[in-house]
């Protein structure tokens, strides 16, 4: 009787693991099959090199570059904002702040990640954009700067929290060595702690990039929906994710070529985030070996 119970539990656990894997495999399969269908009609060379993306117009172009540039531009702005801010926070919390302050502020920061992204989107559109427009005349109401900055705010806790964990995990003996040699707090932080925690910090940044690339709601609301190959942060752009939302919610006919574009766009996105996750996994594995 006992053995049967053990067996049922064991199989149950195995089943839930298998379901997760099956769903992942299913997603990849659907993405790939639909993308292959798409590429049988549109040449992959055009897809990569054509500077225009107009699948919904009568003059159809299927170049992913405008969407990719939109995604990279907004992500770059977000990262450029979030990395210095997030790292400063993590160094402050780990090396300067009193323990009690750290214990209060860290969960509060993590709340930033819990705000629904639709709220961030409207915050970007209604607050940040008008604010920026007062400095930058001629800035469009939809633009990548505002969306990127707000996305940066959203990913700050990914960087600050994970980097702080990495810094905190550096053995205290190294901190003592640094101070014992006469380091100031600043020298301890930047010459000893940050290099010692570098792999964890890099992983946190990669995860944040991955999160920024996949972010949908903020950019769909605040960055506009005009695919445009540009690096000008003041004009409307469209990201890969925003395009997928636009088509999924629109009245495009299923099974049409227009509909299949979202799978091609989706697989491009998937390739990017998959690569980033693989890199971060590798770094994390190396990191674990070093400390064990």
């Amino acid at each position: 009787m006992r053995k049967l119970k053990e067996l049922v539990i064991e199989r149950g656990l195995l089943l839930s693991a298998l379901i997760t894997i099956a769903v992942t495999v299913g997603i990849v399969l659907v993405l790939s099959i639909e993308a292959i269908n798409f590429f049988s009609e549109v040449s992959i060379i055009d897809f990569i090199t054509d500077p225009e993306w107009t699948p919904l117009f009568s003059d159809k172009h299927f170049g992913i570059l405008p969407l990719l540039s939109g995604t990279l531009l907004t992500s770059f702005i977000a990262i450029a904002f979030a990395v210095p801010v997030g790292l400063s926070i993590s160094i402050y919390l780990s090396e300067y702040a009193p323990k009690s302050f750290r214990r209060t502020i860290k969960p509060l920061l993590e709340l930033l990640a819990a705000v629904p992204t639709v709220v961030y989107g409207f915050f970007a559109l209604m607050v940040v954009t008008p604010f920026l427009q007062s400095f930058i005349p001629g800035m469009s109401s939809f633009n990548s700067l505002s969306a990127g900055l707000v996305m940066g705010i959203m990913i700050i806790p990914y960087i600050s929290s994970l980097s702080e964990d990495a810094l905190h995990a550096v053995p205290n003996s190294l901190r003592e060595a640094a101070y014992g040699m006469g380091s100031t707090r600043l020298q301890n932080s930047f010459k000893v702690m940050v290099p010692a925690a570098s792999s964890g910090i890099i992983v946190s940044i990669i995860l944040a990039i991955s999160r920024a690339i996949g972010e949908t709601m903020i950019v769909a609301i605040a960055a506009g929906q005009q695919p445009r190959l540009t690096f000008d942060p003041t004009v409307p752009v469209e990201t890969i994710t925003a395009y997928i939302v636009q088509v999924s919610l629109g009245d495009v006919q299923h099974d049409s070529l227009e509909y299949k574009t979202i799978f091609a766009a989706g697989i491009t996105l998937f390739v990017f985030t998959f690569l980033l996750n693989t890199i971060s996994y590798r770094i994390r594995k190396k990191f674990q070996e070093k400390y064990e």
Binding site: S173, E176, A177, Y179, G182, Q187
Partner: protein, 266 residues
Amino acid sequence: MSKDKKESVIESSIKRKYKLQANDVKVWYDDFMAIKGISMDIKPNKVTAFIGPSGCGKSTFLRLFNRMNDYVDGFKMEGEINIDGSNINDKDINVELLRKQVGMVFQKPNPFPKSIFENVAYGLKIQGLKDKAFLEERVESSLKQVALWDEVKDDLNKSALALSGGQQQRLCIARTLAVEPSIILMDEPTSALDPISTAKIEELIYKLKDKYTIVIVTHNMQQASRISDNTAFFYLGELIEYDKTNKIFTNPEKEQTENYITGRFG
């Protein structure tokens, strides 16, 4: 010579006679009183050993001399610690400079995850010294002082973490010597090492006392008797007995000391 001047000369010669002085030092961690009023004088160019059972306050007391307790939560102290006659807890004392003068070697070898060269050059580099020839020369002489040079001279760019525990600890001592301190504090420097590495470090300590004042905390009583000139026995936050090592180990004044060194408790 006026009377005042004469007195101050005498006073400063007394101060010079003692490298380190503690005057009625009391330490608390929150409400717990870890050091209950200790006064002691430590002579230059001698090895002074602190012995006593775990939790007796000897490590806490050692760390007062380079103010390593400053960052400990709930730490509070009263009394005076003087080095060469000046109070190291004065407001205008630069704690970073103090720690360059008072080096420290820790219980567990703690090299930085950097190359061997970078470890030894660290203290000089954070002082802003960049001259390559000077750094190379100082790294070499420091590694020679700890008898590590011949073992690592071809691997200076390798990670310090690849060295054995004993080599790492000698590297940490070399790192401390590179900034030319006058005092070296050692907090159980051999407790994580094997007997051969321990013997090498002990030999090194014996040699170093010509140039440095060394204070060493140890749990190993044979070690204290082998390498130290003076020994202080601590118990429950108090200094029970402090005398020549020979005297402490052969004919202690206090019964508690005798009980401890003969292994009746602790």
